[in-house]
Symmetry: C2
DNA sequence: ATTCTTCGTCGAACCGGTTCGATGACCGAG
DNA sequence: CTCGGTCATCGAACCGGTTCGACGAAGAAT
């Protein structure tokens, strides 16, 4: 079941089998035929560890995901799926590493154990120790999201600030005067989670530019929190007529709160934000929102990573996507009175 | 950066470094100290491929998931998360393999390339070629879900038939007389997807036992399909007053259909089934449902797999979980008239 | 007929670990 | 003083591939 056995049965040397398989040196057609017959008969496939050891590369990519305790959002799930698919298209495997705490062994195994040829990092913070760690280990990596000062690193991201800005302008055009940003959990914001901070910045700038009254709340990533959060903001700021959100997980709760308050969307209240396409369409009514192109980002991240692995001294590249806002039916003119 | 370099700097042989690290033979305290100092200074960690080659095991588990094109349901996501976490708790990594088509390279790489010590297979069919393939490759594996004739294989599963039976009895107790089972997509059913078939069997038995009129529909795993499906079944069978479902993805559509028809849950219509806990609680109103204990199943699958790897001639084991039905607020007495 | 290429193949070294048998130093017992 | 037994360490073989230099045979050029 190893290459020596194949060589023996085909009556050639091990190296000839290797060359016949890789095609890196010419082998006579007759010999190739004989080797292929033996391989087909025995169902041989090279041992991945041995090959990795000899070649110095593993044909495996590492994907660092948030730990399962923190439930993956739909957008994150989209990243994982598209990264796995894109890798499979290149005949690469994907090694999953749950990380988020700092001192975790799984991440260290990936980084220093040479288990992977490169790493894709998601859910990164403005100051992320893992980025630092990967840089100094000189292991190729691409982040989905970007640190505050990306310097010489490779990344792909969605322009949260720009998208939120566009959402605000959309609401302003519809006549809304007091709007709220429903962000993610206070812990994430405190930890320096980029999308939350960049969307807050974009929100404040845009509301200022259009002369709107801006309100902001943090909300844990759960339906229950969305419910509580929405009810509180309604009593605290009764003048709010529209919300912009980046918190997918809170949406079911927001929906329940709207229903409970007898508010109809978009007649009595407008709702928009940056939301995974599937969730936006599952909402009732379907949400006017900037759909995060998770599949594109994942594929792009793999492409960049492969480019970096192929030429490790290449100039760092990045991509900042700004998807269009899909007009569905959750935003309307400011209610009178 | 390899073991020879460490040995050289510590002034010992490579084998001594190996023994100092593994503890498989006694090494003097002074030498251990010296070696550890050098290792700490250089940040050395053994090359995973070399170790795997020498030891004959990779310290990696394979997890075969449905391809990303078919979106993961919440329950499946729960499996993935808990498997990854459980593996990490044992210092094992997880290699992801998207599979579902039959002739896919990723799965074959995993099986024959000795990349993993064992495999966890999810979303399996009553007759699943992958189970056959793994058996003949004599690679340890555990399935989440089970084939029709599990024979000598290891598996964990939820008793869909039993759970659906309990749901039906619950509805019968509330006085419902005509109920519908909303299953998953017709393709999945046709392919022989176990949970769909077993829940259908349980549904038919239980409705027969209680003298209820049984209706069944297949529904694609999308909100839009849920909407269309529900509206059709209401016109086709106007007497239906309650639904049992195993299709999480269709729920938002069902909800919209209920709303559109002006039906209030549970006053006008009762809804229950086998649903991930988070989704059941996010529904409006929260669903009375059998929560799939995805986290338990994932952890259990890893435990069984490790037991099998440790003793490859061990007697096959399996676990069939039957979680309790959580009474929330989506079921009520049959509406009069 | 001899030399030069080209082609196909082989043997050996190497990747970086683990593991086994052997060896030498040191100890206490006889 | 010698013998037997630990204890700590070493050297070599091995895991299963890849890759490099070399070599023999056949054909082309001289």
């Amino acid at each position: 079941m190893n290459i020596g056995e194949i060589a023996r049965r085909a009556g050639v040397s091990r190296s000839t089998v290797s060359y016949a398989l890789s095609g890196k040196r010419p082998v006579s057609a007759a010999t190739v035929q004989r080797i292929n017959d033996v391989i087909a008969e025995l169902g041989y496939r090279p041992n991945a560890s041995a090959r990795a050891l000899a070649e110095g590369r593993t044909r495996t990519l590492g994907l660092v995901v948030p730990p399962a305790s923190r439930r993956l959002t739909d957008v994150q799930l989209g990243f994982v799926g598209s990264v796995v698919d894109a890798a499979a298209a290149h005949d690469l495997d994907v090694l999953l590493s749950p990380s988020g705490g700092d001192h975790d062994r799984s991440f260290e195994r990936i980084v220093t154990g040479r288990r992977v040829d490169g790493v894709i990092l998601m859910e990164i913070l403005l100051e992320d120790p893992r980025v630092e760690r990967l840089s100094q280990a000189s292991l190729p990596f691409v982040t989905i999201g970007h640190v505050e000062h990306p310097g010489a690193s490779w990344w792909v991201d969605v322009d949260y600030g720009g998208l939120i800005t566009r959402c605000v302008h959309h609401l302003a055009d519809l006549g809304h005067e007091e709007v709220v940003l429903i962000s993610r959990s206070a812990e994430l914001v405190a930890a320096g989670y980029g999308p939350a901070l960049r969307s807050a910045t974009g929100f404040l700038e845009a509301t200022a530019e259009r002369g709107l009254t801006a309100r902001m709340v943090c909300c844990a990533d759960e339906a229950a929190a969305g419910l509580a959060c929405f009810e509180q903001l309604r009593t605290q700021w009764p003048g709010v007529t529209a919300a912009v959100t980046i918190n997918e997980a809170a949406l079911p709760g927001v929906q329940r709160a709207l229903h409970r308050a007898g508010l109809e969307v978009p007649r009595d209240f407008s709702l928009t934000g940056v939301i995974a396409e599937r969730l936006a369409e599952d909402f009732h009514p379907p949400l006017t929102a900037a759909d995060v192109p998770a599949a594109d980002l994942g594929r792009l991240a793999v492409d960049l990573l492969l480019a970096q692995i192929a030429d490790r001294s290449a100039e760092p590249r990045h991509a900042l996507l700004e998807p269009p806002i899909s007009l569905r039916s959750s935003t309307g003119a400011r209610p009178r009175g």
